[in-house]
Each structure stands twice: as C-alpha cells, then as structure tokens.
C-alpha cells in the first residue's frame, strides 16, 4: 500500500479528483469521462448515449405501454405485434441498462486510477488495451444479442402467452388479447378434459422417458460387454451393423416403421403375425402403440450408447481383471465391481442426456402416429408426450394459451432436471480451478 502511494506521489497524483463525482456525472453518459479528462472517450459516449436516448426512448416507452395494455382498438392494434414489440422493448431496455451500468462503473474506475496517479493512456494505447481486455466481450456480446432474439425471446413470448386468452376463437387481428392472470393454469388443473389429459400425458411422458431410455441403455450395455468378449470373432463387422440404425437418418426410419406397423397393410402384421393368425392393432390400440413406440426408440437409440460403452470397455486396463482372477472373483463380480463403475463413471453425463433427449423426442412420437390413437374424454392422444401435445395444440387446434401454459409446466420440469445435472457435471466443479 505504501509503495503504491509512493509511486503515485512521484507520478503526480490528483488527490482532489473524486471517483464518486465521476460516477455521479456519468448519469449523463460521457460527462464523467470528460471529468476524468478522457476527452475522446467522453465525447464518443456522450454522442452515442444521447443519440440512443433520442431515438429509442419513445419506441421503448410505447413498446412497454403496448405490452401492458395489449391494444385498445381491434381495427388499429394487433395484440400479437404489440406483444412482440413489448417483449423486445423489455429485452432491449435490460441490455441498455446493463450498458449504462458499465458506463457508470467505467467512469468510477477511471477516476480511481487518476486519483492514484496512473497516467491517462493515449488513444492508440486505449484502442490496444480495449482489444486486449475486451476480446471476449467483442465475441460474446453480439452472439448473446442474437441468442436473446432467437432463443430467449421466444421463451419469454411463450411464457406471456400462457397468461393471455389467445386461442382459435379469440385471435388477432380480429380480436384483441387480454391478460387473464392464472386462469389458464386454473383451467388446466380443474376442468375435467384438461386435467385428465394433463395427467395422462404427464404419466406417459415419465414412463416413456424412463422405460425407453433405460431399455436402450441396458440393451446396449449387454451387447457391448458380450461383443467385447475375447472369444467373439468378426467384431468389426458386428459393430458396423450395430451402428447402422444410428447412421441412417431417423426421420426416414421412423416413417418406414410407421408403414411397417400399419394395421392393415403393414409388413409386420402381414409377414410375421399373420402366420400366427393374429393382426395386432399397432396404431389404433393405445397399449400396442406405446409398445411399438418404445420398441422403435430402442432400435433407434441403442447404437449410440453401444458405441460409447464399447469405447470405454476397450480403455479399461486388463490388470484389473487379472487381479480379480487371482483373487478368484466370479464373472458377475468382475462385471459388478470393475466394468460397471468404469463405464458409468465415464459415460454418466451422456447417458443422462439420453434421458433428456427422449423427454423431448418429438420426431419419433409425431412421425410415427401423430401422438395417436385418440382417447375419448381427452384432447391428447395415447402416445402424446408433453412436447408433441404442445405441438398439436399449437399448430392443429391453435389453442395457443393452453399450449403455452403446458409449455411452462414442461419448462419447470426441464429446469429442475437441468439444475440437477449442473450440480453433477464435473465441468462446473472444475470451473473454480482457474
């Protein structure tokens, strides 16, 4: 501390310079910087800041007012446009406030430096410095703004829709939307059709995610350990064929399966089950449709896990098994205490991701049977999972408000899961090492 002061004294310190003043003056962007005698920076900020305020304050204000009221006159106002503009205004305001805070902070810090007697850098030096220290910001900020538009904005929009009365019968531009509070959620939990549908979709989503994913992992694990046996030959051929379902685009295989499982002309009924004199209603019976869908997902999903586990198995040192042989460990014990821990430790994050992928596995559900067959007394199909239900509510029935409300419930599930995964992912524990 003393040394610092001593150097400061030598360099001619401005002890009268007050950082608090600098920050306070920066309430008008640039003035604080001028007070710090950083002329070019100050003028640039002043011009930039004033022109932003001049051009944006009215549209931003109108945007937020529009968001609150959602329009007065259906002839003039389109509530959807107002909603879009309103949310964009809020996002932009938050970004601008962030920049404003940076401006205050910058003036304060420069003043501190000046007070301590650090020389004001030349313009050239300043440009160089801002490239040195600012590099990550130059990279991250533009991308973040785009992400805010394309990923965060839609999520916010979806959340807002859940609190409006936007459906097929009350849709802009003919009608205005209104904020309705939690009415949609109330309907979702209290009206018989909705609560019954929600309950059955939720239950099936959970069963589907757990059963399909666990089956595909178990099958892959079993096959990988089996093929890894030193007595098995043609390993390369076997592994290549086992990867095929992953290599062929799933969009196409699912449609092929939809044709094969067709109740009337499908190959599975005609070629296989007709010999036993049965025709199984794969697409029209809820239970059979569910069984078929789980089977297809296992077919589609096991090769990825199989390849992962095969990779890990090859990296386990032979010494472990030899040591176990010396101790007379049985085959099951070797599997349980050597193979299992190794594989699970190395692949756990990827296996967890398999569960979250199946939770959102829209393609399979929709392409196979569009969530059907229909169930009486419900407005969701028997194989609908949350995401496919949201899709059909949105695009087939235009029931935006309920789709949005269900999305929020889905989002809560996803976020809870994400939180759980954060805490387990190693990369976050190692974050603090730097």
């Amino acid at each position: 501390m003393d040394i610092k002061n001593a150097i400061g004294e030598q360099r001619h310190s401005y002890s009268g310079h007050n950082p608090a003043w600098a920050a306070l003056l920066s309430v008008v962007p640039g003035l604080g910087q001028l007070y710090n005698r950083r002329w070019i920076k100050g003028v640039l900020l002043l011009v930039f800041g004033l022109s932003l305020i001049y051009t944006l304050s009215v549209p931003l204000f109108n945007g937020i007012v529009g968001l609150i009221g959602l329009g007065d006159d259906p002839e003039l106002d389109d509530s959807r446009t107002l909603l879009v503009q309103g949310i964009l205004s809020v996002i932009l305001t938050v970004i601008l406030l962030g920049l404003y805070a940076l401006n205050l902070n910058d003036a304060y810090r420069d003043a501190k430096k000046r007070q301590a007697g650090v020389r004001t850098p030349s313009v050239r030096q300043a440009f160089h410095d801002s490239w040195e220290h600012g590099f990550p910001y130059f990279v991250v900020i533009p991308n973040f703004i785009m992400m805010a538009l394309i990923v965060i904005f839609p999520l916010l929009f979806m959340i807002s829709l859940a609190f409006t009365n936007y459906n097929l019968y009350n849709s802009p531009p003919a009608h205005l939307l209104d904020w309705v509070g939690f009415a949609n959620f109330k309907a979702l939990f209290t009206e018989a059709v909705w609560s019954k549908s929600l309950l059955s979709v939720l239950a099936w989503t959970v069963v589907w995610t757990l059963v399909a994913t666990t089956l595909q992992i178990t099958l892959a694990f079993f096959l990988a350990v089996m093929i890894n046996d030193s007595r098995v030959r043609f390993k390369k051929l076997i592994r290549t064929v086992f990867i095929l379902p992953w290599a062929v685009p799933s969009f196409m295989t699912v449609l092929v399966f939809a044709a094969m499982f067709n109740d009337n002309f499908g190959a599975i009924n005609r070629d296989i089950f007709s010999h036993f004199g049965v025709m199984i209603p794969w697409l029209s019976d809820p239970l059979w449709a569910r069984i078929a869908i789980i089977g297809i997902q296992v077919w589609l999903g096991f090769p990825y896990v199989f390849t992962l586990i095969t990779g890990v198995l090859q990296s386990i040192s032979k010494d472990w098994y030899e040591a176990a042989d010396v101790d007379g460990g049985s085959r099951w014990k070797k599997f349980r205490y050597i193979t299992m821990p190794h594989v699970l430790y190395a692949t756990a994050p990827l296996l967890i991701m398999q569960y979250s992928q199946n939770f959102n596995n829209f393609n399979l559900i929709y392409l196979f049977n569009k969530g059907g067959p229909p169930v009486s007394g419900q407005n969701s199909g028997a194989t609908d999972i949350l995401i496919s239900w949201v899709y059909s509510l949105t695009f087939n029935e235009n029931n935006y408000k309920m789709a949005a409300a269900i999305s929020i419930i889905m989002g809560i599930v996803v976020a809870a899961f994400a939180f759980y995964q954060f805490r387990r992912t190693r990369s976050f524990r190692e974050e603090d090492m730097y």
């Binding site: 990279v139 965060i152 829709l161 093929i227 095929l244 685009p249 196409m252 077919w299 994400a418």
Partner: protein
Amino acid sequence: MKASMRSALEVSGIYVIVLIMFAVILYPLVWAFSMSLNPGTSLFALKLIPDNWSLEHYRWLFTNPRSDYALWYKNTLIVAFANGIASVCLVTILAYAFSRFRFVGRKNSIYTFLLLQMFPVLMGMVAIYLLLNTVNLLDTFTGLILIYVFGGLPMNVFLVKGYLDTIPRDLDESAKMDGAGYMTIFFRILIPLAKPIVAVVALFTFMAPFFDFLTPRIIIRSPEKFTLALGLYNFINDKFANNFTIFAAGTILIALPIATVFLLLQRYLISGLADGATKG
C-alpha cells in the same frame, strides 16, 4: 473338457443373439430398400422380394416434371453448407472465449447456455414465426439458417468448450510469450488440436437440415424452397400408402451418402463426443 464345452456353448449363444440383432436391425432397412425397387406404387400389393426389380421410382424422382426432388436436394445443400460453416465459425470462437478468458459475466453466460440447451427450439416456434414475420424473413433461407445456427449454438458451444478445456493452457501461454496474438493462438494452436470436436460440430450442423422437417415446415411456405425432409414429408403425408415406394426411393438416396460418411468417420466422431463430454 467340461469347461471347453461350456465355453463353446456360450460363444454359440452369443452368435445366436448377434444373428437375431442383425435380423432386427436389417429387416426395416432391407424392407425400405426393396420397397424402393418394387414396381407399382401401392403398399397393399408389395412383396419383400419383388417379382421383377425396377428403378422406375428413382427415375421418376429426377425426370418426372411433377417431381421437385433435385430442387429440394439443392435447397438442402445450400442450407446445410451455410449452417455448417456459420455454426463452426461462431461456435469455435465463442468456445475459445469461454474456455480461455476470464471476464465479467462469464460464469453466468455459461449457466445461461447450459440452461438454454435444455429447452427444445420447438417450444418457441410461434414466437419465432411472428418474429421472422416482423423482420420479413419468413419463407427465406436466411431465416431458416438463422434459426438453425443460433438454436443449436448453446449445445454446440458447450460441447466445444468442454473439449478446449482439456487442452493444456501451457500451450497458449508459451505461444503468448513468443508474441502470438489471440487470433494466432486460436487458429494455429487450438483449432488444429480440437479437430475431432470441430468435425463433430461440422457434421452435426451440416446434417441437421437433412433430418429436420419441423423448422422448415413452420418457416418455409413456397414449394420451390422446400428442403428434402419437408418435401418428402409432405409428399408422403398426403397419400401415405400410395406414394410410399417413391418416398422410399427418395429416402434411400439421402440415407446412403449420410450413412457412408457416418460409418467412415465413426471413430473420429465418437472420440470427439466422448472426450468432450466426459473430460469436460
């Protein structure tokens, strides 16, 4: 004697299971392939082994004036290349910033990315539609590519960042000593070392437009801008049973090149994926 008997039995048991798996895996693939070679269009009269093979459906796709297949292929390639190139550029530089720099808001940004990659893009489709409508990008490739690039960004950045974290920092420190700038370090040191994961991102982002029928279905309206997945989906969705053989031919022509690339690169891809995720 007894032990070798048991071993032989076990091995044959394994082979039996392998053969059953082969049958289950190959049955639908072979079935689709033979459908595409069946003359006639009705699924009702088709056989697994047709009486006479024919390439008429493949010819139909490229020569019939009612078929837009070649156009769809071209559209998909445009979108796929643009998506692959743009994604690789943005993803690698962002991952570099997150992996190698300490800056204000870094940790929160990573949390945001991690959280966002959990939400399917599908959830915000209505908003994306309205947004693109507001900025006049509806029914354009630009709009579609933007959604692909930024929708996939969080997931891919996380993947590449995990991989870059495994590359020792001493390497860039010493290059910095020798006077290398950020961009030199990035292009000369990190990118060459991160090739496997860059290949994964390039391939996945390139392939996404081939698989995805949903995003174009919402964004693209005019038939001359359809991508393969959307075009084929509409084609089969109208008259499922009657167009199936042509659909099968169309998909075989997509599946063959993709499966070939996939099988050729599999080792590379898996090492990239597994290293990024497990060490990350």
